[in-house]
């Protein structure tokens, strides 16, 4: 987190808060997100559906659904310019050339009526950074780098003629052709088969290594996080609840929600057939958050103060991570261990899932 050389930050987000108004209800799907991203760094935004990961991305890109959601507070400095305060025209210039977004679903990200070459070249054409021939030549070179077969013929292919893995390569090329400094990749491998996922991950890492891209990776897959991230921010109900280096967060998670996420996928640590350690209950609706810590109704470590006061991210004894947890701040969380809980495998029917 707090690097001694703060000036090296490529993107600095401070106190981002996004307001959502739907059907008379108001909610804050992003509430108090701050982080710094340096060249070549990969920050994973982790959390479950509705935790605010994608809304954070859309807020930074200036792509929030108009009339429904808007940035209520915060700054996002990229090269000294505040993305959140830029007039739309200037922000448009930034998108694709300075900061790019790779959306979740490659099918809806691609225009079915345009050829692959045209769509990859579009950023250069729209921003008039290259002429038509030159833009297509650069698209071809980049797609070649992405491992798309049958070039240059594939430039004239339509998205439906490509497999899921190939479409994802095209979407990645679209995001990278403008040479952005920051790439936000929203669940870039979630829809892919594992062997294809591995190919796309390799490609992302190679491209990042070549261009020193700052990468913001949005995912719910803790395996993918462990594979590629350098830093992790865990989000819950719109709020960051833990932030630290990937090693620290995975080895000694300081927020009970992070622990729950890791335990939920800890197949390796358990004997086959043993009950998995799950998090009880479901995330709260954003317009009706519980008082205090939003996680306290599901938290097995909760103490009285948790239902009264909302904890802020704060330093935790003997950890380099910051955590929004009263119990962790007091140093009262037990050491983290994966493995069967006492009485786990024999626990009764439906057990802890019951509510």
């Amino acid at each position: 987190m707090a690097e001694p050389d703060n000036d090296a930050a490529l993107l600095r987000v401070i106190g981002l808060r996004t307001r959502l108004d739907v059907g008379g209800a108001t909610a804050y799907p992003v509430d108090g997100v701050s982080f710094e991203l340096r060249h070549g760094q990969t920050l994973a935004l982790v959390g479950e559906s509705g935790s605010g990961k994608s809304m954070t991305a859309l807020s930074l890109m200036g792509l929030l659904p108009r009339g429904v959601a808007r940035v209520a507070a915060g700054r996002a400095e990229l090269d000294g310019r505040d993305l959140l305060a830029l007039p739309p025209k200037q922000m448009r210039r930034m998108r694709g050339l300075e900061i790019a977004y790779m959306p979740q679903d490659p099918v809806s990200a691609l225009n079915p009526a345009l050829t692959v070459g045209r769509q990859v070249a579009e950023t250069l054409l729209v921003h008039r950074t290259a002429g038509r021939q030159q833009a297509l030549a650069r698209a071809e070179a980049l797609l070649r780098r992405m491992g798309l077969p049958n070039l240059p013929d594939a430039l004239d292919a339509y998205p439906h003629q490509l497999s899921g893995g190939m479409r994802q390569r095209v979407v990645l090329a679209m995001a990278l052709i403008g040479n952005p400094k920051v790439l936000i990749a929203d669940e870039p491998t979630t829809a892919l088969d594992v062997t294809t996922q591995e190919q796309i991950i390799e490609l992302l890492l190679d491209m990042q290594h070549e261009t020193r891209l700052g990468l913001i990776l949005i995912t719910h897959d803790m395996g993918v996080v462990a594979r590629i991230a350098t830093d992790v921010m865990v989000m819950y109900a719109g709020k960051p609840v833990e932030h630290g280096t990937v090693d620290e967060v995975f080895e000694a998670p300081t927020h009970p929600y992070t622990r729950g996420l890791l335990e939920s996928v800890s197949f390796e640590a358990l004997p086959p057939g043993a009950r998995l350690r799950s998090i009880e209950g479901v995330p709260p609706p954003l317009d009706r958050l519980p008082a205090g810590c939003p996680f306290h109704p599901r938290c097995r470590y909760a103490i009285p103060v948790c239902s009264a006061e909302t904890p802020d991210l704060a330093a935790v004894p003997s950890s380099t991570s910051v955590s929004a947890c009263h119990v962790a701040r007091d140093g009262a969380l037990p050491p983290f261990e994966l493995g069967p809980r006492v009485g786990g495998p024999q626990a009764g029917l439906a057990g802890e899932a019951r509510r």
């Binding site: 897959d221 395996g223 462990a226 090693d247 995975f250 939920s264 197949f267 799950s278 439906a350």
Partner: protein
């Protein structure tokens, strides 16, 4: 497998070929979804089918349920072919075979309350009893961890995990002998996935059901099922005890599949040697000749391109690879320093 008792579910050399009409000229294409699949599932046991898109795993599930008729081979329940049964017998059979799908939202009728949803199996099978059924439904809700207050609400009012609980309750209503679970947790968040997997494991033990678990997630399958079959290009290419297949995979595809799953441990991930395989799973309408995996396999020799390997026993489990005895993990170095 013992000769004494017939397994609850058995597939014998089953093929399923679809012939969809494609394009303006009705050119027929043969989609070989499933080929030569055999498996036996004794009562109360779990068998896991693992594979990627187009591997044929869901078609095997549909064949087991009698929703598809095999093109060749037999599907047997209680030792008798499903195909030869009369209409009444078929209905009786359906009571014993139930299914849950990936997307509970799609599989629950939005116009029915939870009560109606859970009553339906009793009504369809003429098992509705004014006294006993309401009590049975309350018990079902209790088993899946929902309260009775859910009864008069509609499925949309529930979260994905709760909807899957409703779908599970409906599947359990008539105490089936076999549950086919097709990607039951793939649409759910990880914390909810763990809850639903726990529930599935609990009810499977409690109800002594057999279960065919279909998933792309090898870790989930290994955890839940004692036996596993790995599918590729419509065929089971490796099968045996989950632990054995997981600890010492013998088919290069299984090796690659295991190696591609990132684990939630950054230090291990950095140190790990990975298998890189090119390309993507084959299109079942255009399967390569010989071993379907040869186009992506680092061990492929001429023979693999022409002769399809049959399943045979190697080191205690079944594998369909000419070179299973010499399977190696290709030496792809761990991630180079600094590239992270």
């Amino acid at each position: 497998m013992t000769e004494a008792a017939a397994p609850l579910l058995e597939l014998r050399e089953v093929d399923k070929t679809f012939t969809p009409r494609r394009g303006l000229r009705n050119r027929s294409v043969q989609v070989r979804a499933v080929q030569g699949v055999s498996l036996a599932l004794p009562q109360g046991q779990t068998f896991g089918l693992v594979g990627e898109t187009g591997s044929g795993k869901s078609t095997v599930g549909r064949l087991a349920l009698g929703l598809e008729r095999p093109t060749r081979g037999d599907v047997l329940v209680d030792g008798r072919p499903v195909a030869t049964r009369s209409r009444t017998e078929e209905l009786r059979l359906r009571r014993r075979l139930q299914v849950i799908f990936q997307d509970p939202y799609e599989s629950l009728n939005p116009y029915m309350t939870v009560r109606e949803t859970l009553e339906e199996p009793f009504r369809v099978h003429r098992a509705y009893d004014r006294q006993r059924t309401p009590a049975a439904i309350r018990e079902l809700l209790d088993v899946v961890g929902l309260s009775a207050s859910a009864l008069d609400r509609s499925p949309q009012q529930f979260s994905g995990g709760q909807q899957q609980r409703i779908a599970i309750a409906r599947a359990l209503a008539l105490r089936p002998a076999l549950l086919v679970a097709d990607e039951p947790t793939s649409a759910l968040d990880v914390s909810i996935q763990a809850q639903i997997l726990n529930l599935i494991m609990d009810i499977q033990r409690e109800f002594r059901m057999a279960m065919l678990l279909i998933s792309h997630n090898l870790l989930v399958v290994r955890h839940v099922s004692a036996e596993v079959g790995v599918m590729y290009g419509g065929r089971i290419v490796e099968t045996g005890r989950s632990e054995a297949v997981y600890r010492s995979p013998l088919h290069p595809y299984t090796v690659a599949l295991l190696s591609a799953i990132p684990q939630a441990n950054p230090k291990k991930e950095r140190a790990r040697r990975r298998v890189k395989i090119p390309g993507e799973p084959p299109d079942p309408a255009a399967l390569p000749p010989g071993c379907a995996f040869h186009t992506r396999c680092w061990m492929a020799v001429d023979r693999c391109r022409t002769d399809r390997p049959a399943l045979r026993v190697v080191r205690g489990h079944l594998v369909a690879c000419h070179r299973a005895e010499e399977v190696t993990v290709p030496q792809v170095p761990a991630q180079p320093e600094g590239r992270r």
